[in-house]
């Protein structure tokens, strides 16, 4: 079992400088803590810097101010202790499902036997047994996203980042995979950070929901979700939390339409 990671994001700011244009404040003084084994979701309008923040945490970009600590140590570059699932599944089309998952174990230092069993276990975990030798083009969107989750988890990272992993799927598959992610999170006991703009998804899955706003990207609310798992989407408390988060995002459906829209 993976040791769940403790992530601390402290006062992180990030600007993009494009030639001939004013500096863009993508992230401004963002800070929050993620407890070991927690499931934290970041919601916010598109362009508020959610993906940028995940890129900083995964270590693809180190040009920022502030600190990002995993288990008390500042993160440097990419590492196998941090996994990510991208919105596009990003499976390599020339590798079969099991080869794709195996790619994440190339530098794990494990024996061939350990690798094979990790691959088998994680294909089973995401419900794709029987598709080991399938190429990505032979998988449906939902299956490809499951495969990407298996790849993200196979090397037993301390933390898994998910950047709108269900964004491109149809509603039915989405709801189904949300339940799957919940089950996988409980089974693996790994710290997870999910980015989504689906508020219901956020409330369904998380211990905590961090609400962001754009221009500059910042945290406007940090909502604890204390409902028992598995969650009932129709429960009044569920709906109340959803409302509260939508209100924080400035998208409360109960508000009268703005005159502009009339």
């Amino acid at each position: 079992m993976a040791t769940p990671g403790h992530l601390e994001i402290r006062n992180v700011s990030k600007t993009y400088a494009l030639p001939g244009r004013p500096l863009v404040n993508v992230l401004s003084h963002v800070g929050f803590d993620v407890d070991p084994g927690a499931f934290v979701t970041i919601v916010g309008p598109s362009g508020c810097g959610k993906s940028t923040l995940l890129r900083l945490i995964i270590g693809l970009d180190d040009d920022y101010r502030g600190d990002i600590l995993l288990n008390g140590r500042r993160i440097v570059g990419t590492a196998l202790s941090r996994g990510i699932v991208f919105q596009d599944h990003r499976l390599l089309p020339w590798l079969t499902l099991q080869q794709n998952i195996g790619l994440s174990l190339e530098n794990s230092g494990w024996s061939a036997k350990e690798k094979a069993s990790a691959i088998r276990d994680h294909i089973g975990l995401v419900g794709l047994s029987g598709f080991e030798k399938a190429y990505p083009h032979e998988l449906s969107g939902g299956m490809a996203q499951r495969a990407a989750i298996a790849r993200g988890l196979a090397n037993r990272p301390e933390i898994l980042l998910l950047d709108e992993p269900l964004g491109a799927l149809d509603a039915l598959t989405r709801v189904h995979l949300q339940a799957e992610i919940q089950r996988i999170w409980e089974a693996e006991g790994v710290t997870m950070i999910l980015v989504t703009h689906d508020v219901e998804e956020a409330v369904f899955l998380s211990n905590r929901v961090v609400v962001m706003s754009a221009n500059p990207g910042r945290i406007v609310e940090d909502v604890a979700v204390d409902l028992p798992f598995p969650r009932d989407r129709a429960h009044v408390d569920f709906i109340a939390l959803k409302r509260r988060i939508l209100a924080a995002m400035g998208e409360d459906e109960r508000r009268p339409a703005s005159p502009r829209a009339a």
């Binding site: 390599l92 590798l95 998988l139």
Partner: protein
Amino acid sequence: MANTSDTIEGAAVEAGTVDRPTPRRFGFGRVGRAPNLIGFILPFLILSLWQIAAARAWVDPVFLPAPLTVVTAFWKMATKQHLARDFVASITIVGQAFIYGSVVAVALGIAAGLSRKVEQFFGPTFDTIRHIPGIAWLPLIVLWLGIGAPAKVLVIAKSVFFPVFLNTLQGIRSVEKNYIELAKVLTLTRWQLVRKVILPAAMPSIMVSLRYAAGLAWALVVVAEGLSGLEGLGFLIFRAQGLLLTDQLLVCMVIIGLVGFAIDRSMYVAQKRVLKWKQGYDG
């Protein structure tokens, strides 16, 4: 494509498209399916027209002998002359030229694709040499190496080299940035990145150029043998013209066409095998 519902638990909701796609095929002789007869209609019509033209003497037989005369000529060339030897001579030159040219091209193409320095080092020289046609090199090379096979191998290898080199370079440069990012996340080393990500990503473009280059090499051997040397199909065809042996000339033409066709189809099959991961890939 049919969306069969999956039988495995958990994935039952999703529309699985796991049945292997059957790509569109056309023409005849494509692998894996009974030959489509429609492709034979035109050759049959041409042959019939040829036969009729010869039988009615629309054309002087010196310029267009009857199909049967050509078959007889083939038999004579194969048994009494050295058609097989000439054929092997041509094939050997093409085979060697193709292998040398493409191996060097893929190797240098990878090097130049991975390093701007290497590309800049070779760039100006290659871009100049590339614009001198292979056949224009032949007179000089023959002065150096004589009229034997090596000169032709060298010249054809040069013609194979450039399309393969440029496509390899291009294929490597156009690897999606997303995949490079993924490799970083998975902490792949540079060598792992090249082997597992960059080369496979460049493979479609490399395979296309290899198929093209193989056809080109076969066409060029005829020209090269016609210009210098004393054997090979290209030599035979020009000799036949000189001696007004039109039937032998036609034998050579038909063989050249059929071999070219066979080379292209084999390359197609190879391409298909190497790129079996590509969805609906059809050459």
